[in-house]
Amino acid sequence: MTKGLLFSITFHAVMILLTILTLPFMLRDPIDLPPILSVELIQISDKTNIPFAPKARKVIEKVKKEEKRVVSEQAPPSAKAKEKPDRIPLPNEKKDKKKLVEKKQNPEEVKPEIRQSSEFEKKEIIDTNQIAALIDKAKEEAALEQNTADKLTQSSVKNSFVTGLTLSQEDALRAQIFGCWSVPLGLPYDTNLLVRIKLNLKKDGTVLKSEILDHERMNKPGQKFYKILAESALRAVRLCQPLKVPPTGYDKWKELQLNFNPTEMLRG
């Protein structure tokens, strides 16, 4: 009896220990992972070894001249930097790139794009009556920016830890699909539309099989918008073939899930 009990206790203890050590959701707060942040920094420096390096060099030299600061202070800009590698080689996309970055920092603020023709509006921004409002807005923007940066850092840490795709690899893939996906602009922005597509890939990045994970929703009555979004997502995947996948680690990415969510774009 006691033997059995002892055995059971030992077994359970081992199981609990294993669970704590291996299950991703049992991980501690991501702040406890500074070494992973530094790994991300190395990858960013890899990215800067491209045609526009002279600019980047100046920045790096400046940074070097300053006293070396805590790693985490450099981490947030990684969200901006990661947009660059895929877009720099395409000169036509330079302007778009800037816009996209702005949107990312403050998704609700698209006014600059729309007001492009109006000089008056720019002047109006300096209107004294609105200064107070602007200060408040600035605070909100800063908070939003911080939020987005935080989110990005956390998700990237999680992703690289859990899945094995590095930030740059994930970004390369994401940027490629951004370019292929024509978002159907007539979709309602206040409905939660998320299309999850599971892909089986070949080593060269071509798609062996694509499967919509909630495909039963496609033909349900009243799900017209979901169907249109799903079709546009599938079109994007087919157009993008072969996908930009890492040269190594095929076992990790041979199955891939893409979550298409246009809400942010549709809200403008």
């Binding site: 294993l18 291996t22 991703p24 996209l100 949107k103 698209v110 006014k111 794009e113 729309i114 007001r115 492009q116 023709s117 109006s118 008056f120 509006e121 109006e124 209107d127 009556n129 992703n159 859990v162 899945t163 094995g164 795709l165 994930e170 893939l173 994401r174 699909i177 951004f178 370019g179 292929c180 996906w181 024509s182 978002v183 159907p184 602009l185 007539g186 979709l187 599971k198 017209k224 918008f225 249109i228 979004l229 079709e231 546009s232 997502a233 599938l234 079109r235 994007a236 087919r238 157009l239 990790k252 199955e255 891939l256 899930q257 979550n259 298409f260 969510n261 246009p262 809400t263 774009m265």
Partner: protein, 445 residues
């Protein structure tokens, strides 16, 4: 016991492996127009010939109308026909998808026309070229003179299938047609298809006409004209041509508009320098006063659910936009920016209000949310006003006047459209100068 351990470990690591599926969030895409190939519709050689209509070139004409409609949206990029790789008749049966993909097309429209027993039958198919499959096929039978409308209906169906939003091509625009020198303008009511075709005039031009508006069934039009030298709101039946003065008001009535159910007309009534908003039931002729204020309240427009009304008023000292419940209670000011705000119009989708803004002598057309937040100025010019929504709430039509010399030379008034993103501004083609446009709802709904 060992086996038990092994099984447990196996299940455990399997679970972990499943959990490690790479997930990538795609939250952005491009806004480039979708490349679409509209093949000329194939005319069946067995078609009978008609007196008034050349059947031979009809397939090309219909595909041109569809292409023009798409071009105007800014969401599609119709590809040039010289690049097409397959004859219309074969493409309609089974396109060679890989060849069409070579010219970078993502969607393909094919069709067939047959005239038999004096009836015109038009069928079309929409192909998804990346998925190599047909995604839509429809056929219409009608009288041959209706061929333009069928082209617009096909455009609407394709637009809806690819964007998820209702189209706006099978619609009409009513406007004030203007001719003659600036100080002696002749103004008539004109009506045309949204692409500028089929223009007709509904009044003779003896009296000045202003602000025509469709009712929801597009059968009636309400507008302002002069009755015994006094501006009064009129009601006109487009089919019968019968017109009548609305209500027996002891003063001037103006800025009329229908309620969303089409049962009431909402308008301003001015007396002794004060104007307030009134409604009149078209059936019972019962008049109801909605606002009661010493300021000038005008340009009322219902929300699509009929529960709210937006209007402009100078009760704060400057002309601004207000929203109230449809019974006149709970009046709230929604604009606080510098300048004057006027002609508010509620979007058919209910989410936005379009308006004209005047600031420092310049005119802007803009949109904002129904609570006044998120103001976006879409276009700025010397003089422009009177926005009217397309039935799907994506495009605005308005009119723009040019600066004229001392004797009115160089003056012109034209209709323009712009979509709510502020892009894709374009001039609409009208036979004469035009102002005060109003967009109908979809004719085929």
């Amino acid at each position: 016991m060992k086996i038990f351990f092994f099984i447990f470990f196996f299940i455990f690591f399997q679970f972990n492996a499943a959990n490690s599926l790479i997930k990538v969030d795609i939250t952005r895409g491009n806004l480039d127009p979708l490349p679409i190939a509209v093949s000329p519709l194939h005319v069946d050689p067995n078609s009978q010939s008609l007196k008034d209509l050349k059947i031979k070139g009809l397939g090309d004409k219909i595909s041109e109308i569809i292409e023009n409609n798409f071009k105007g949206t800014g969401l599609f990029n119709p590809l040039p026909k010289d690049a097409f790789v397959q004859n219309p008749d074969i493409a309609h049966l089974k396109p060679r998808f890989e060849d069409w993909r070579l010219i970078k097309a993502q969607a393909l429209v094919t069709g067939k026309i047959l005239v038999k027993d004096d009836k015109l039958k038009i069928e079309f198919r929409l192909w998804d070229l990346t998925a190599s499959k047909e995604i839509m096929a429809l056929a219409f039978t009608t009288t041959p003179s209706n061929w333009r409308r069928v082209a617009h209906i096909i455009s609407d169906k394709i637009y809806e299938r690819l964007t998820g939003e209702d189209g706006y091509f099978d619609t009409r625009i009513i406007y004030v047609s203007e001719t003659g020198p600036k100080n002696r303008r002749v103004k008539k009511l004109g009506i045309m298809d949204q692409d500028g075709a089929n223009t007709k005039y509904l009044t003779l031009g003896n009296e000045l006409v202003l602000t025509p508006r469709f009712n929801p069934t597009n059968q009636l039009v309400t507008y302002l004209s002069y009755f015994r030298n006094l501006p009064r709101v009129y009601l006109l039946d487009i089919e019968t041509g019968v017109q009548e003065v609305v209500g027996n008001f002891p003063g001037m009535t103006f800025a009329p508009r229908f309620s969303p159910d089409g049962k009431k007309i909402i308008m301003s009534f001015a007396k002794d320098g004060n104007s307030d908003i009134y409604t009149m039931d078209i059936e019972t002729r019962v008049v109801e006063r909605i606002t009661e204020h010493s300021s000038i309240d005008t340009s009322p427009s219902y929300s699509p659910d009929g529960k709210y009304i937006c209007f402009n008023s100078d009760r704060s000292g400057v002309q601004q936009i207000y929203v109230m419940k449809s019974d006149g209670t709970n009046v709230k000011r929604i604009t606080f920016g510098s300048g004057l705000y006027g002609t508010p119009v509620w979007s058919p989708r209910g989410d936005l209000i379009a308006f004209t803004k005047v600031r420092k002598g310049r005119f802007y057309i803009g949109v904002m949310r129904a609570d006044g937040s998120g103001e976006r100025l879409l276009t700025e010019n010397f003089y422009q006003e009177a926005p009217s929504w397309s039935p799907n709430g994506r495009v605005l039509v308005f009119y723009r006047e040019t600066k004229s010399g001392a004797n009115g030379e160089g003056f012109s008034a034209k209709l323009w459209s712009i979509d709510i993103t502020g892009y894709n501004e374009r001039k609409l083609s009208t036979e004469t100068d035009a102002s005060d446009p109003s967009w109908s709802s979809l004719l085929s709904k």
